[in-house]
């Protein structure tokens, strides 16, 4: 359970969000991260409708909770089965309006990392393209350098400070700040700001406005792309 | 008074245990007490030790045997009766045993005359003059182990001796040395002296082969390197030494 910063593999401290700008039906699958991806089977759907009367309304957000289910044999689950189980959303079909955002998250720390794989290429967290985002709660102090595993040259740093509370009061003070989020806007492979400082336990929102399909990946996981920030 | 005194280890063996040890040795290895020439001991074995006949001119050798009963030791102070000629002093032991001496009078014919061998052409049992007395003794080595005319006597023997330090099987051991021997009631005195001298030599030789490792005295209970003794205390053998 050491901290892994990688938008391609969603854990309980991560969210993937996608804004839908056009009406239509967007099938998708929930697959193990790093797996072979969807095998042509997209059992879940985001239905996007347009309501003319509310064209100027504020963006709404719908959160899909993902859980991992073991196959059941008889009265109980059998982890020895060849089928390791599957990811399922709390709602197989969600209906949103144009301009709304759907956010996927799994609350279970024990759940293995998963990925959203859409039938349409833009939908999915393996390559963040347009009007989407990835959030991550940083749970270990230190300097976290991230890059784009797909090779766009995206590079940034999140510095996480350990609050080191010396008493209950300081501990509470730290906990009261866990609701503070930090936004990093990414456009065309450039993060803004490229370096941010947060406290342990705080969340960073990586919002991708547009781009070639990037990832937010700990540089240590992409050894050949690890370079100091600011290098040419 | 402590047992160890100024030493670290003390061992004492009562005379009954000493006799048990000697009995065990002599029972297991009886050849230590039984010696004889081929007419009496056809071959060396656990039971007896074969030795050469006594060479003598004109004879194939005098056949003999000596056999001792397991000796009984009495450590100072005296518990067993001794002939008046012997007295048991401090540090000494007395030894009593019975010696059986045998010779083979095989060449002695009837009436005490020498008889030629039956295969000898001169042999004529009906001729009263055939025994001229100058015929050589027959070499009866083919009949070893079969003394033809053994003559034996038993003598009660008493001796006085002392312990000596020796080695047995690479270990420190105690041995037994004879100081004097007495045989009761042999006349004339000169014969008694001769026999006593003979038996003194026999006993010394026999006892030279009889020794007891120091470890046996204390059954290996503790490792003892003697610095005092083994010596005869009152009715026991004791030793003291380093651990």
């Amino acid at each position: 359970m050491t901290e892994i910063l990688d938008s391609r593999a969603l854990r309980n401290t991560d969210c993937y969000g996608q804004r839908f700008m056009k009406p239509g039906s967007y099938p998708y699958a929930l697959v193990p991260a790093g797996g072979a991806g969807a095998s042509g089977d997209f059992p879940y759907v985001v239905e996007v409708v347009e309501t003319a009367a509310k064209r100027d309304r504020d963006m709404h957000q719908t959160t899909v909770t993902v859980r991992f289910l073991k196959e059941r044999h008889g009265d109980c689950c059998d982890e020895r089965t060849a089928d390791p189980g599957r990811f399922v959303p709390d709602q197989e079909r969600v209906t949103v309006e144009v301009g709304d955002m759907v956010v996927w998250n799994s609350p279970d720390a024990a759940t293995r990392p998963f990925a959203v794989a859409g039938q349409k290429e833009f939908l999915g967290n393996t390559a963040l393209t347009n009007e989407c985002g990835y959030t991550h709660v940083f749970t270990t102090p230190g300097e976290h350098e991230y890059v784009d595993a797909n090779g766009s040259g995206l590079r940034g740093v999140v510095r996480v400070a350990d609050p080191q509370p010396r008493n209950t009061e300081e501990l509470r003070a730290w906990q009261s700040r866990l609701g503070d989020g930090t936004l990093v806007m990414i456009s065309d492979g450039r993060p803004e700001p490229a370096e941010v400082d947060i406290l342990l336990g705080q969340t960073v929102f990586f919002a991708v406005v547009k781009g070639p399909g990037v990832t937010i990946t700990d540089a240590a996981l992409v050894p050949d792309r690890a370079q100091p920030v600011g290098a040419a | 008074m402590s047992l160890t005194e100024t030493s670290e280890v003390f061992v004492a063996v009562e005379e009954s245990a000493l006799n048990d040890l000697i009995t065990a040795v002599c029972t297991t290895r009886p050849h230590l007490l039984h010696y004889g020439s081929p007419a009496f001991v056809p071959a060396s074995s656990t039971s007896a030790t074969q030795m050469a006949p006594i060479p003598f001119p004109g004879s194939p050798g005098l056949q003999w045997s000596v056999e001792l009963r397991i000796p009984q030791l009495d450590l100072f102070k005296q518990d067993l009766a001794l002939p008046p000629e012997l007295s048991l002093g401090a540090g000494q032991f007395s030894l009593s045993t019975t010696v059986r001496l045998c010779v083979d009078c095989a060449s002695r014919g009837k009436d005490g005359k020498e008889e030629p061998h039956p295969d000898d052409p001169k042999h004529d049992p009906n001729d009263p003059n055939h025994d001229r007395g100058d015929e050589p003794w027959r070499d009866d080595r083919d009949d070893w182990g079969k003394a033809q005319h053994p003559m034996c006597c038993r003598l009660d023997v008493f001796a006085i001796g002392h312990l000596v330090s020796t080695w047995a099987g690479g270990q420190r051991a105690i041995g037994f040395a004879v100081d004097s021997v007495e045989i009761v009631d042999i006349e004339p005195n000169a014969l008694e002296s001769v026999i006593e001298c003979l038996l003194t030599m026999v006993l010394r030789s026999v006892l030279a082969t009889l020794s007891l490792p120091v470890t046996a005295l204390e059954l290996g209970a503790f490792t003892l390197t003697p610095t005092v003794g083994p010596l005869i205390d009152v009715n026991r053998v004791l030793a003291r030494g380093d651990f």
Partner: protein
């Protein structure tokens, strides 16, 4: 009156026990027990070193300052949630220009259960009374000194040091746990407090005491069929005597106390 008497004085007894205690070598055992509120599995080794031998008539051998070097490897499961409350990351919202507010759901960080390994060693000294015991087993007379009763082992400063070691071990074991940093000192302190001196002695006493209590120190062994002379040739078979009876005791023979072995034999 015994036929054979072998005795050693206190100095020799000291040498004897120096040798015999050293010959015992390391002893080891393992199992499971309780460490305060925790169930622990342990593997413990102990090595004795002789102390000062005092012979006390009629049948006691006292060893003062008998030293036991011990080492214990502990392992216990620590459910962090038992000591610090679960932490909740509240809903976090940011405003994205031209888009609006985006929020994450609340996230509950549930503390995991971790395995805490602890490795620690120390030594202690104690005084034990050995009783002189005699037995005839498989044709061998055995004279042994057997620790009487259950000595009360004093762990002293060991407990404080071991508690400190447990605190460090907890910190090392949970270092990987996300978000544990701010709670590390609290957690280690809470675990150590939960165990306490009583918890430690409650563990160490029962698992280490057996290295001392009931320990049998060989004094001497004598075959019931004792070989006086080894076989030395075809006509000289080995000579044996039978050890009929054996005894062992401590005698006070002024000015000394002596360890005495008594035996009777027959050919």
């Amino acid at each position: 009156m015994s036929e054979i008497i072998a005795a050693i004085d206190e100095g020799a007894a000291q040498q004897l026990f120096d040798t015999e205690v050293a010959a015992l070598g390391p002893q080891a055992t393992s199992g499971s027990s309780s460490l305060g509120p925790f169930s622990v599995s342990y593997a413990v080794t102990g090595t004795l070193s002789n102390g000062t031998v005092d012979l006390i008539a009629p049948a006691t051998i006292e060893i003062a300052d008998l030293r036991l070097d011990w080492h214990v490897d502990l392992s216990f499961q620590l459910d962090i949630g038992d000591f610090i409350p679960d932490i909740h990351i509240p809903q976090v919202c940011v405003h994205i220009p031209c888009v609006g507010d985006v929020c994450t759901p609340k996230i509950d960080i549930v503390w995991p259960t971790v395995t805490v390994p602890v490795s620690f060693g120390d030594f202690l000294k104690t005084t034990v009374d050995l009783g002189v015991a005699l037995s005839l087993v498989a044709g061998v007379w055995k004279v042994e000194g057997i620790v009487q009763g259950v000595p009360s082992l004093q762990f002293g400063a060991s407990t404080a040091a071991l508690l400190a070691a447990i605190g460090l071990a907890v910190a090392a074991a949970v270092a990987w746990v996300p978000l544990i940093g701010p709670f590390l000192a609290v957690l280690a302190g809470a675990v150590v407090a939960a165990i306490g001196i009583a918890g430690l002695t409650g563990l160490l006493g029962p698992i280490i005491t057996p290295f001392v209590s009931g320990t049998r120190f060989p004094i001497t062994e004598i075959p019931a069929l004792f070989e006086v002379l080894p076989a030395s040739g075809p006509f000289d078979p080995a000579v044996f005597v039978t050890v009929d009876s054996l005894g062992a005791e401590v005698q006070h023979n002024p000015p000394e106390d002596e360890l005495v072995v008594l035996a009777d034999i027959q050919p």
